[in-house]
Symmetry: C2
Amino acid sequence: MKLQIFYELIIILMSTKLLGLLMRKIKIPEVVGMLLAGVIIGPSVLGLVETNEVLDIFAELGVIMIMFAAGTETDIKHIKSSGKASAVITALGVIVPFGLGYVVASLFNGGFSVGREQMISNMFYGVMLTATSVTITVATLKELGQLQTRVGTSILSAAVLDDIIGIVVLTVFIGLKSPNVSVIRIIIRIVLFFIISYVVGSLSRKAYHVLEDRNPGTRRNIIFAFVNCLVFSYAAEKFFGLADITGAFFAGIAFADLKESKHLEHRVDIASYLLFSPVFFASIGIGTVLTGFNMNLLWFGLAFVAAGLISKFGGAAFGAKICGFGNDESVRVGLGMMCRAEVILITAQRGVNMGFIKKSFMPFVILLVIVSSFITPILLKLTYRNRNNKLTQKSSEV
Amino acid sequence: MKLQIFYELIIILMSTKLLGLLMRKIKIPEVVGMLLAGVIIGPSVLGLVETNEVLDIFAELGVIMIMFAAGTETDIKHIKSSGKASAVITALGVIVPFGLGYVVASLFNGGFSVGREQMISNMFYGVMLTATSVTITVATLKELGQLQTRVGTSILSAAVLDDIIGIVVLTVFIGLKSPNVSVIRIIIRIVLFFIISYVVGSLSRKAYHVLEDRNPGTRRNIIFAFVNCLVFSYAAEKFFGLADITGAFFAGIAFADLKESKHLEHRVDIASYLLFSPVFFASIGIGTVLTGFNMNLLWFGLAFVAAGLISKFGGAAFGAKICGFGNDESVRVGLGMMCRAEVILITAQRGVNMGFIKKSFMPFVILLVIVSSFITPILLKLTYRNRNNKLTQKSSEV
């Protein structure tokens, strides 16, 4: 068993890193490379690695570390200061994709008057589309020197809000899995979990602060923070019936916005990228079956991808427009929010685990990640080039 | 399963860190605290955590990371420069403990004319005693401002040599496990492995250097180094029938003494202390059974502890004396080499896994770690106090 795991880790780490770097060369997120690596080494193609219990645990720890890190990056003060605009952008950028995702799924899966289970499944396609991942957008705006603009800061804040709303929605749906649980009950559980998280999180935050104050940069501090992450994840699932990633995310928020947060995140990040997150992304690829295709699934998948792009773009751009952004700015906000990466993958994988989403649908989720991360930077740059052309034209006219 | 592992990791990380810090307060190595934590949370006392396949894999990755880090710290240039003295100190500091350990084990286990299997087992008690861990010695000498003396540098070099010889001896004995394998064959295998390791290691070292040169401090570099560690560990066991830790150690040596080694070691270290090495040390404690005691085992164990202290002290001190060290200096070298910690634990655990050592003997190995790490700094400080007293007397006489 030990040697088998060593062997599998060697294959996973090498292939994910190589393909990840390759993707980066052509400006596609590394995550896509890791997924492809998983598909290639998995039973669909080469059959070198199969999922097993140990790899599953590694993958699970990987997701938790990713969500914990995302939590520590959640700058709540920043959201408050950037105000109403990002709230409206997020709201419309969540509601429209959710709605359109649900409609598309319903059209392909038995219409709108179906049983509870099928309805939840159809809605879950909408849930997946609410996610956003703005890493590529941020990199592109940075490259263009446009990150410190109204467009840039709105996208950043909206992305953080999007994560929070996304995890709450996901949590509700995971709660809905048990057939006899009402939405009200789940919401009560969530609220209860949030209150307790807030209290415990505040205490942990203080304790962490004292620890860092007394012994800056020591191992005990990061272990303390990581144990918190594990405890929150464990408690969320075990005692509240919520998702473990919800717990990890809230544990991360408890440690956000401290002067030591960067340092903490950096150290958790090392453990994460050295082993756990490659295993996670590869295992999605390994679990992706390229069989069970038929025309209905193909059209459904393509409609889903199109809906994902259009709805997020439309919702967010419309939100920006309402808040008084210009046409160009609104388009940029829409394009910036359109991109998908880690979050939709994590959500989709939960969906598969819960039985909401068929395994054979995963390729289309991956397709959405690839397409959106491919066209977002191109289109964003185009909008700025147009403006520059206009400016150049204007100045040549003068 | 996932939730159970989360729960076990929470218990292990919290208890090892708390007891580790507690031990440090009373100047005993943290490792001892981690072992005790394992004993307490394990089936012997509280029964909160039992070993399972996933934890075993974590522990195994922990040992590999520890040995890899030890390898990267192996400064071969330094040994060459410190010359003959440390070679003689190491040689006698290995031979005498090995001999005495074997004699003591034989006296308690059937005498000297026993079957092959029992003889190998008896010899393995000697193998365990060859290990040294000079962390505490180094800290003590640093505190006394005596690290940059002849005593200090000899101990440091001898400790590195000790690690190398120790791993070779351990490797031979692990090879001897198969009943039909001759020593010659094992030595051929080891030599073959060393040659191939040297060639592949040199290439990896160059590749790593190029990687760091082109993209300093990027993730791909550390993943490359870590994959090397896994490949060496895997190949050593799978293709050469040696121990995986031998492979990890040699992979580490390949990356030693580069200007980036510290950086590399630091990053592997984070993953190690955040999860893997606490699980490893705790799992030794969890596997330590406090049953099966009888008077014979008790006397054997105590004799083993005494032999461990006396033989290492005597051997190393005698070696120093031969090389022209003064009496005081020789005593200090002997005391400095006497300390045991990680290495003997790793060796002993392999011995248990291989069936050479009975599980019920582990408490005495732990006892040797505790006693040696407790008395080494006290005695070392005493030898320097005596000298200071003499100096003071002398100067008052003048």
